[in-house]
């Protein structure tokens, strides 16, 4: 059983592509080998910046010989037919066998496909894999036509068994496979031959190449931590950076440096981001001061001066970078202290979306929404509006221009420098949150108000200009914004009737859009002026929009969707709420609540209050886990079905007047009694929004309902009794409807 070793040696492979390339190489080669009939015991893939490596152990030496029987023409078939068969089967006539068949004697051929040596198969598979390798980006070089991530210099491909190693004969676009490789670019550049994977890894190590990326990561982590430990510092963990740095070196040599005292007053986020983004340095924190005071850079070489020159160079580069950062910071602070008016003015020139206007327009809308939401989340309206007006100003700061990922974080610093309260400054930092399903949700009231307003504006704005997500396309991240609203509301237990705010947001966004459109059309300009001059009374708005719609139609084009958003924001709000409900289903499904349970409670009034929806759904879900709950659902459905049929047949709605005096049986009387007890309890529990109690109260009806259906036939010939029983069923239906639409529960 030979072992296979492949090394594809190239110029530097981007660090971010290496992990995926390792997996692809392993999968594609082993799949190809197996497909061709070989088996193997195990396989492992490795990479360094300059090589992609695969080792396959216990490979079969040959693919198995296979036999195939093929049925030919009848013995009495024309000569031509037999000739054709011999040709296609690749056999001669004396190798054929005559056998009895249903229709007489027929020729049979047995074709043998001899097994093929592993080397032949490996060569074919490897060439194909190299030519079709799924690099995220690949290139040509020189005068060749081959594509690889960067120029491919050599291929090492050997099969090793007891008798030794042999090169797999293979040439791809002028590169011929061999058994040689090279060590570290500078420390051991000479070529050498290897005889197998262990020999390869050992010789590479002597040639200053650590083949396994996991080992390089561990070595970096360990050495960085011990360098930091020696100074009483701690490395700020960063797995993404660690794996990137491990993909940039073949022989990691961590070196520790100290940040000059003049930079230590920069915000820690700035130090960390600048060092990481520009220099790929790890940050070292001094736990005594809480500040970031040092860094670890990882060199790719051992030098006679033990890295002294390298570290000195890195220090100088860092000093230049941090001087820039300090320059930005000081300039920004000056602007912040003077009130940030220039930034606010600057945002007028930054387009948010060409139909929705500038960032400044957007801030106006968010401020208006934040003001309205504030009292609902326990925030001061003035503070919320103030925070909304400040939250995005840092987009114009030099620091965020340099490091966009610091948006919000710098906003907080600048708001504090401007003398704003902590609540306002924190809102500037937190209003983008949550950005994903696991991101932390703000809880401070002002932050919640602005964060909600920000997302409501995004949703209503893009809805108003008809830029909704479709399929996998969601260029404006509206699903993320919707999930943000859901999590903000639910996790803060904020009672907000979202429809009102969706409508409000739609009108605000539509006005912005109209304002933009007014720049290009004098008709719209007149209308816009009329609208802007007067507080938007609904009548006026509708009148204006009717005119706009007419104008749009006259122009032989579809009216803009924001005209409609302006005229009938309720439609947009309802539509948007449906989108939010879809996202809510996805969100709750992850928490173990089925979609049909959510559908059942969404049919209830107040379904734009997501806190209410979730507490109803949670209580219903809990009840449906119980035996009573499951049976009750059946009882409610049965009652509903009987009623629906009777109502359809009789053309009336049975809804009132059930009277115990017409009850014939004990079971009927028991059901009357049970309803008399349960109904007020359910009403009270719902009024108290105590849904578990409401569910308990209705679950108590299970036994009487079951007993009723067991003993009583609803549709009797006695009309008074029948009507009375139907009216009794309607009390059951009503009791259920107060809690959920049980007809939607599946099963």
């Amino acid at each position: 059983m030979p072992d296979l070793l492949i090394e594809l040696f190239s110029e530097e492979i981007p660090a971010r592509m290496q992990a995926r390339a390792r997996e692809d190489l392993k999968r594609l080669i082993t799949d190809g080998l197996v497909e061709a009939g070989l088996t193997y015991a195990s396989a492992g893939a490795f990479s360094t910046p300059r090589r992609l490596v695969l080792t396959v152990e216990g490979l079969s030496a040959n693919s198995p010989t296979t036999r195939e029987e093929r049925k030919g023409p009848r013995l009495d078939a024309p000569e031509k037919a037999l000739e054709g068969f011999l040709r296609s089967a690749g056999v001669t006539k004396d190798q054929l066998e005559a056998r009895d068949d249903k229709k007489g004697q027929v020729w049979f051929a047995t074709i043998t496909h001899p097994g093929r040596p592993a080397a032949r198969i490996v060569a074919e598979v490897l060439e194909r894999v190299i030519r079709d390798f799924p690099w995220p980006k690949s290139m040509r070089w020189g005068a060749g036509t081959l594509r690889w991530v960067r120029p491919l210099h050599s291929i090492l491909c050997i099969l090793t068994d007891e008798s030794g190693a042999s090169v797999v004969p293979l040439t791809v676009d002028g590169v011929t496979a061999g058994d040689r490789t090279r060590g570290h670019r500078f420390m051991a550049p000479d070529a050498f031959a290897v005889t197998g994977f262990e020999d390869y890894a050992a010789r590479l190590r002597r040639a200053r190449v650590m083949l396994d990326p996991a080992e390089r990561e561990a070595a970096i982590r360990q050495e960085a931590e011990s360098l930091a430990f020696a100074r009483g510092w701690q490395i700020v963990p960063d797995d993404g950076l660690l794996s990137e740095v491990a993909g940039l070196v073949e022989w990691p040599v961590p070196l520790m440096g100290v940040i000059e005292a003049r930079f230590l007053d920069l915000p820690p986020e700035v130090l960390q981001t600048s060092m990481k983004e520009h220099q790929k340095f790890f940050s070292a924190r001094n736990p005594k001061t809480g500040r970031i005071e040092g860094f670890v850079t990882v060199a790719n070489i051992e030098t006679p001066d033990h890295g002294e020159t390298i570290l000195a160079g890195n220090q100088r580069v860092l000093a230049a970078r941090l001087s820039d950062a300090a320059f930005f910071w000081e300039n920004d602070l000056r602007e912040a202290k003077s009130g940030m008016a220039a930034w606010a003015e600057g945002l007028r020139a930054v387009t948010f979306h060409n139909k929705l206007g500038s960032q400044a327009d957007r801030i106006e809308r968010i401020a208006a929404l934040a003001r309205e939401i504030a009292p609902l989340v326990g925030a001061d309206a003035d503070q919320a509006e103030r925070a909304a007006r400040l939250a995005k100003l840092d987009l114009r700061s030099s620091m965020v221009g340099e490091f966009p990922e610091l948006q919000g974080i710098m906003g907080r610093y600048y708001a504090l420098a401007a003398g704003e309260s902590d609540a306002v400054a924190d809102a500037a930092r937190d209003h983008y949150s949550p950005l994903g399903p696991s991101d932390e949700v703000p809880t401070a009231p002002v932050s919640v108000a602005v964060a909600l307003a920000d997302k409501l504006d995004t949703l209503t704005g893009f809805w108003a200009i008809d830029e909704k997500p479709t399929g996998s396309k969601d260029p404006f991240a509206l699903r993320r914004a919707a999930l943000g609203v859901i999590r903000l509301v639910i996790e803060n237990n904020s009672r907000i009737a979202l429809l009102d705010h969706f409508s409000r947001g739609s009108v605000l966004a539509a006005r912005s859009a109209l304002g933009i459109a007014a720049q290009a059309s004098s008709t719209i300009r007149d209308i816009y002026a009329k609208l802007a001059g007067v507080p938007a009374s609904d009548l006026l708005r509708k009148e204006i929009v009717t005119a706009l719609l007419k104008d749009g139609k006259n122009g032989d084009k579809e009216p803009e969707s924001f005209y409609v958003a302006l005229a009938e924001p309720e439609i947009f709000a309802a539509n948007l709420l449906a989108f939010l409900h879809d996202r809510l289903k996805v969100h709750l499904r992850d928490q173990g609540i089925r979609h049909d349970i959510i559908d059942a409670v969404l049919a209830q009034p107040g379904n734009d209050d997501l806190v209410l929806v979730v507490s109803r759904a949670t209580a219903l879900n809990a009840m449906l886990q119980t035996e009573d709950g499951k049976n009750l659902t059946q009882g409610l459905k049965r009652a509903g079905n009987i009623l629906a049929q009777a109502e359809e047949k009789d053309g009336v709605e049975y809804s009132f007047g059930a009277d115990p005096k017409f009850a014939d049986t004990d079971q009927e009387r028991a059901l009357f009694a049970a309803l008399d007890t349960a109904e007020p309890r359910i009403r009270q529990a719902i009024a108290d929004e105590d849904f578990p109690a409401a569910m308990t109260a209705i679950a108590a009806l299970r036994a009487p309902i079951d007993a009723f259906f067991e003993a009583v036939q609803v549709n009797t010939d006695h009309q008074i009794t029948r009507r009375n029983r139907l009216n009794l069923l309607s009390r059951i239906r009503d009791a259920g409807r107060q809690l959920a639409d049980f007809t939607r529960i599946e099963g």
Binding site: R140, F281, D305, A312, R316, A320
Partner: protein
């Protein structure tokens, strides 16, 4: 910098690079006589990267980025600076080694320093060009851009050119240990009249910064942009044969107008009169010119393998 081989001045670094690349067989060209944003704009790179004819050139290119002006005060930023550019077609298999040799030639010994090739894909939206390669780091500082051209002016590069771009000031400051670009010795510090970079460029940085940011007449610039665009189109539309019946397509004169439009756009950008949305449109207009010039160039002799 412990190397005894260390250059003493900015110009010595340039001279050593010239000598080195001349020894590698490059034609040492002179700067292009127009305002450009980077060495890539020199027709010796942009146009010569097109077509099948082998090519090897190296040159210094003064480059202007009006928005980077800082009145000579910033230690690292200039609105006028120098790039050293090497272009070889087809890219030789040992281009990385050749490049490392050039670092050695200017005193950066890779056995003492930490030289790394870090992914950096290059794209020039105005030239309709892109390539893959790296930024080269020396001790954590980017000292060069290393690119294998894949497309220029919308044309696939066949064969592929290898392009090296050295940011000379930054590289020299590192080699010479200067903290501020203006303090860097331009000629030999022991010369009878020693001149620092600042002696030569501090005043011009101030003057151009003022002009770029405050004074450049935007109306004139807008007009010049349109003129360049129109002239480029006119040149390209001219019949390929002259009055005497000779085929002389004018790819280079047309491309000059493209360069001009590109630089005027940069000036307008520095004046802050181009909005974010317009920006894309202007870049698209310059790219359209670059593509049209490339389309014409590939039909000319300079793009063909000599017979």
């Amino acid at each position: 910098m412990t190397s005894p081989n260390r250059p003493r001045s900015f110009q010595e670094i340039i001279l050593r690079l010239q000598t080195y690349w001349a020894a590698q067989g490059c034609a040492v060209l002179q700067p292009y006589d127009m305002e450009v944003g980077a060495g890539t704009f020199h027709p010796a790179t942009t146009l010569r990267a097109l077509g099948a004819r082998p090519w090897a050139a190296a040159y210094v290119q003064p480059s202007r980025r009006p928005t980077d002006g800082r009145y000579g005060e910033n230690p690292n930023r200039l609105q006028h600076y120098y790039q050293y550019q090497v272009i070889i077609k087809p890219s030789p298999p040992d281009l990385q080694d050749l490049y490392l040799g050039s670092l050695k030639a200017i005193g950066l010994d890779p056995m003492v320093h930490d030289v790394r090739f870090v992914e950096d894909d290059w794209e020039s939206p105005t030239l309709g060009a892109w390539g893959l390669g790296w930024e080269v780091w020396c001790d954590g500082m980017e000292v060069s851009q290393f690119t294998y051209f894949q497309q220029v002016g919308g044309h696939d590069c066949k064969p592929v050119s290898g392009e090296l771009t050295y940011g000379l000031e930054r590289l020299a400051m590192y080699v010479l240990g200067a903290g501020h670009v203006m303090d860097m010795p331009f000629n030999d510090p022991g010369a009878a009249i020693p001149l620092s970079y600042g002696d030569i460029f501090r005043q011009t940085e101030q003057e151009y910064s003022r002009w770029n940011f405050e004074q450049a007449d935007t109306e004139t610039l807008f007009r010049h942009f349109k003129d360049a665009e129109a002239e480029c189109a006119r040149i390209l539309a001219a019949p390929e044969t002259d009055a005497a019946g000779r085929r002389i397509p004018m790819a280079h004169p047309a491309y000059d107008q493209c360069i001009k439009a590109s630089h005027i756009f940069n000036l307008l950008d520095a004046r802050g009169v181009i909005s974010v949305t317009e920006r894309q449109a202007y870049i698209g207009r310059v790219r359209a010119l670059a593509k049209a010039c490339a389309d014409l160039f590939v039909t000319t002799d300079a793009a063909q393998v000599p017979t």
